[in-house]
Amino acid sequence: MDLTWSPAEEAFRAEARAWLEANVPRGLPSGDTREGFAAHLEWERKLFADRWAVVSWPERYGGRDASLWEWLIFEEEYYRAGAPQRVTQNGIFLLAPTVFEFGTPEQQDEILPKMAAAEQLWGQGWSEPGAGSDLAAISSRADKIDGGWRINGQKTWTTRGAFCTHLFGLFRTDPEASRHAGLTYLLVPLDTPGVTVRGFGRLDGDEGFAEVFFDDVVVPDSAVLGGVGQGWSVAMATTGSERGLTLRSPGRFLAAAERLRALAVERAGSLSASARDGVVDAHLRAEAYQLFTLAQVTDLVEGRKAGAESSLNKLYWSELDIALHETALQLLGPDAEVDGPWSRGHMFSLSGPIYAGTNEIQRSIVAERLLGLPRK
């Protein structure tokens, strides 16, 4: 058991910290409004210019070939510096690992550099009005035509969809096949004729979601990622990627717990006993999440796969995030209802147990795959 960083890793941390301290923008508006998004893009492009956008990627795509450890260090420093959540995250953390694993060399060379540079902005097209938790119920279809596919249907809950340029999603290419079979993973530029994007408001009022309508949208054969009819396994494989890029960064929660501690010190005059306990718990849980991740990365580095364990991560951070923000609102007393980072963070935290597979589904996965309880 070793919890120390090597001199090289410490040097990497120092370099990241110095750059972030000099460059992190202050008072950036929400990335889920049209004006805010533009400001965030500027930040993304600055990150890219100095090769901090995708540290763990190969240098040829704009990365630093950083190890998973360095990635964790970067994330810790990133959030510690008060830098904003990444508007490019759905591309970088969800699509990119899949492209690395299943993409053709042409697809990799075409997609990854532009994604890293925030020139292409990717939204996720998985959910549909009738297919949320039950993703296998997808009904948007892509019919084979000469040299490509014709897409019809509707996707929804596409995060920041109104500001994205591209969409990755699952489409039914074999209408005869049922449920998980007959789905294909397709990559669709949103400026293709026939695509209509309609943004709508999240709980915090920002236009953070979009519905995407497909009306005889034609994409070429090269839009297929990972093989026709293989969509389900391609999409699912991402969650266990050894590159670990889908790990939820502990840095975000460590930073939030530290901000909560500072709030408690600042509001000492109204620090009730239960709020004080809440601050301690937030701190304990954020550190537990960090330590758990360090153990997971050790496993990944040494070739032991994570698999269904990622459901544990999701459950833990999402519940921690809510508890942490509820404590903040307690500390704020009557100010809790005022619009601000804590109230926005609270609303955002409530989406944690819903998106990327509800916590109810994650608990069933834990029970069935990690504990071996019977499916039915």
């Binding site: 999240r202 809510i322 307690q330 209802e337 005022v338 619009d339 409530l350 819903i354 109810e360």
Partner: protein
């Protein structure tokens, strides 16, 4: 002993509910968020006045209904259920009875619906409903003062519940209404009680939406609401809610009787309902899934009001501390010393 609302109370609450179903559907609450809200608000205020609700706690001789806090609870449950985007509680439970007690000439227009009155006694510096009110009851120490908001330049404050039309409390002295701590305390307790009752109604509404949604919404070929996890989530909401109701009712009984326990009983009601509000919002959003997380769907209107009221008129920590005091509990000690370092 007869611990249930009277037929009269139920009838009045039924009338308010009927009115609000028509006059304050979700669209009206939603409109209050935008710049178009003023007209809808004015119409609604007038309708409440016509029902006599604004003078509910004003003596009949002064043109009111002469009701007590006990009668008020079912009314405010309905106000909460509809998330009325107006300072009904502030006017009816706090301001109007004070004006009546002091024979203020402002009472008549207020009860008639010609004026809208809000109130803030917690000392937060933020006045809810400022943007749609003509008068404000504010506190300076233990003194309550009435401020005329007409023509005052307000500094708006953006709140999570966009219908609150909040602003910084203006630095206008206003006219002294009372400096009697007992009267101030009673006004405060009435405000807290009205908030607690509204939280009950708001929770009912959220639960109704969640039940309706999960009965209809299908995933994996079955209604979401047939899944045990969802059933138990919503059963817990009902459990929580149903045990808050009698505690709110008792607080009203004690307050109306002027009982010395009123302070602790109101604290119990506000502490329990505020706690319940947080859990209810979280659970009903979760039961809805992604749609519960959007502003296009109605749920958020009720969720956000309940967050606002949970934080207003004293939050959980305050009211739980009041109960602890009433129980004679000694202060907590900080057991952080190792056993042999103990400093007792």
């Amino acid at each position: 002993m007869r611990f249930a609302p009277t037929p009269d109370q139920l009838e009045l609450a039924g009338a308010v509910r009927e009115l609000l179903t028509d006059a304050c559907p979700p669209e009206v609450v939603r409109t209050a968020w935008g710049p178009e809200g003023d007209k809808a608000r004015t119409t609604l205020w007038r309708q409440l006045a016509d029902l006599g609700l604004l003078g509910a706690m004003v003596p009949e001789d002064d043109g009111g209904l002469g009701l007590t806090e006990v009668d008020l609870v079912p009314l405010f449950v309905e106000v909460g259920r509809a998330a009325v985007p107006l300072p009904v509680a502030e006017t009816v439970a706090v301001l109007a009875p004070l004006l009546a007690a002091h024979g203020s000439p402002e009472l008549g227009p207020l009860v008639a619906g010609d004026l809208v009155g809000t109130a803030e006694l917690a000392g937060s510096g933020i006045l809810p409903w400022a943007g749609c009110s003509d008068r404000a009851l504010v506190r300076s120490g233990a003194e309550l003062r009435l401020v005329d908001l007409t023509g005052v330049d307000l500094e708006p404050v953006t709140t999570v519940d966009g219908s609150r039309a909040a602003a910084r409390i203006p630095s206008v002295a206003g006219a002294s209404l009372t400096a009697d701590p007992a009267e101030t305390e009673r006004a405060w307790l009435r405000g807290a009680l009205a908030a607690a009752a509204q939280l009950v109604g708001l929770a009912h509404r959220q639960l109704d939406l969640a039940v309706a949604h999960t009965r209809e919404r299908k995933q994996f070929g079955v209604p979401v609401g047939s899944q045990q996890a969802v059933k138990h989530l919503l059963a817990n909401v009902l459990l929580d809610l149903r045990f808050c109701v009698p505690v709110v009712q008792r607080a009203a009984v004690s307050l109306a009787a002027g009982a010395p326990e009123a302070r602790a009983h109101v604290a119990a009601a506000k502490a329990m309902t505020s706690d319940m509000a947080g859990r209810t919002a979280r659970s009903t959003i979760q039961a809805h899934g992604a749609i519960g997380y959007t502003v296009e769907y109605d749920l958020h209107l009720y969720v956000k009001r309940s967050w606002a009221l949970a934080a207003s008129w004293g939050n959980v920590a305050h009211h739980r501390a009041v109960v602890a005091d009433s129980l004679g509990l000694p202060p907590a000690v900080d057991p952080s010393a190792l056993p042999w370092e103990a400093t007792r």
